[in-house]
């Protein structure tokens, strides 16, 4: 056992402080210390993308970060996407286009797509495919996920146009 260290993180706007071992992964910190189980752990070596969260506003694999090494960061998890009890446009599009079956990979996809559409609000189908290459889904195939992302982009552009 190595000496525990103090880690402070802001997660979905709320401040937390915990003492954990330096080897404690951010993914485990979120799930077991804070109790946010939406961040899923798949491969635990950065390949599957299920554990994707945002660190200071940019996507990152939470299984590839020690909580201690991101001390002081602002983290957004899948639980931070919906407002009140309404799905956000990306979640809504995944729901409507049946872009999930078991749902295990979905939190990671939602985080990846959130950043992708921020940076590219009008993506082509090929750009969507490329953006999704580092998230793995083992149930659906990717056709419905691609549909959902395109629909979410349309919906978000429509919203931006109205406001």
């Amino acid at each position: 056992m190595s000496q525990k260290v103090s880690v402070r993180l802001t997660v979905n706007g709320k401040a937390y402080e915990r003492r954990v071992e330096p080897r404690y992964l951010l993914a485990d910190f979120l799930r077991h210390e804070i109790g946010l189980k939406g961040t899923h752990i798949g491969c635990e070596h950065g390949v599957c993308g299920a554990c994707t969260v945002m660190i200071d506003g940019r996507t990152a694999r939470s299984c590839l970060h020690f909580a201690a090494a991101v001390d002081g960061a602002e983290i957004t998890t899948v639980e931070g996407l919906a407002s009140e009890d309404r799905l956000n446009p990306i979640q809504q599009a995944f729901h409507e286009h049946h872009a999930l079956q078991c749902g295990y990979c979905t939190p990671g996809f939602l985080m990846t797509v959130t950043e992708f559409l921020q940076r590219n609000p009008s993506p082509s189908r090929d750009e969507i495919r490329i953006a999704l290459t580092n998230n793995i889904c083992r149930c659906t195939g990717y056709a419905n996920i691609i549909e959902a992302v395109a629909a979410a982009a349309d919906a978000m552009r429509g919203q931006a146009g109205r406001s």
């Binding site: 056992m1 190595s2 000496q3 260290v5 071992e21 330096p22 080897r23 992964l25 485990d28 635990e44 070596h45 950065g46 993308g49 994707t52 660190i55 940019r58 996507t59 990152a60 694999r61 299984c63 590839l64 970060h65 020690f66 201690a68 090494a69 991101v70 001390d71 990846t112 950043e115 992708f116 495919r129 490329i130 953006a131 290459t133 580092n134 998230n135």
Partner: protein, 290 residues
């Protein structure tokens, strides 16, 4: 799996980082973005006793022009290099290489220097460094030394640094009006390359190639500079015939070894094809085919 226990330091300055490295030597590893190191730690392939995070050293994060160089600090993230207009204008090959490195989530955290230090034979940044004759600035408590990129990359996952040293900066020669392309063949898009070629060209006003820099990955334990192909280009207009000669010359100086994904003959063939494609793409002609 979970990593083995280690002792953790998060110093705030470069000086403290180097002091810790001097104290712990071979027992210590530097943690920057962690996109190569942490998977190896999670699988317990690597079990450092001491981990020194440089993530709280803002002085190590910069993209800087000076003395004809474009420098990236030890903490400069790949995504920052990818989005940098400065990199795009002074070192377009680095800009072209960045989107091929992992996924966006990896590049948001992974660093340019970290990828160099890891020295994966299929990683793109080392090929950029070798092609452009980058200078690798290696720091220790005793001072700094500069290694040419070709000397820095020793073998697969092996660099020329000694215990107590860290790669604190990579300096690429800054160019004006260079054009570049990085092309790869891979089993799936954005997966690891099987073979790849990096090319950066400078053309004069008469349309002749003033300078050509090419390097290949997937054809040896370190990126291979394709000097014969460069010589074919220099002083010439880039025509279909020149491109044919580029492909032939690219194959002259390499001796790939076959492995799981492709045999030696295929790698040799593709190095030529990709050298030709990289030059054509850099020229903006977008030509394809062998």
């Amino acid at each position: 799996m979970k990593p083995a226990p280690f002792e953790f330091f998060a110093p705030r300055t470069r000086e403290e980082v180097l002091e810790l490295l001097a104290r712990y030597g071979d027992d210590a590893r530097i943690l920057s973005g962690g996109q190569s190191l942490v998977p190896l730690m999670n699988m317990r392939i690597v079990q450092p006793r001491i981990l020194i995070s440089i993530n709280k050293c803002p002085e190590l994060s910069y993209i800087r022009r000076s003395d004809g160089h474009l420098a990236c600090g030890a903490l400069t993230r790949q995504a920052e290099a990818e989005d940098s207009a400065e990199v795009r204008s002074a070192c377009p090959l680095l800009s072209e290489a960045m989107p091929l490195v992992g996924g966006a989530a990896n590049r948001n955290r992974g660093t340019v220097c970290g990828s160099m230090a890891h020295a994966d034979p299929l990683a793109e940044p080392p090929a950029v460094a070798v092609a452009l004759e980058a200078e690798m600035v290696v720091g220790s408590a005793g001072g700094r030394r500069i290694l040419p990129a070709e000397a820095f990359f020793v073998s697969e996952l092996t660099n020329a640094m000694a215990p107590g040293e860290m790669l604190e900066e990579v300096r690429f020669p800054a160019r004006r009006d260079a054009r570049a392309a990085f092309v790869e063949i891979a089993n799936r898009q954005h997966g690891f390359a099987v073979v790849g070629v990096a090319a950066q060209l400078e053309m004069d006003t008469a349309g002749l190639c003033r300078s050509a820099r090419l390097a290949a990955i997937g054809v040896g334990p370190t990126p291979a500079r394709l000097r014969a192909a460069e010589r074919v280009l220099e002083g010439q207009a880039v025509t279909d015939l020149t491109l044919k000669h580029v492909a032939e010359a690219a194959r002259e100086t390499i001796e790939p070894v076959g492995s799981f994904h492709a045999d030696a003959a295929y790698r040799l063939h593709m190095a030529g094809v990709l050298a030709r494609r990289a030059v054509a793409q850099a020229m903006g002609s977008g030509q394809r085919g062998a």
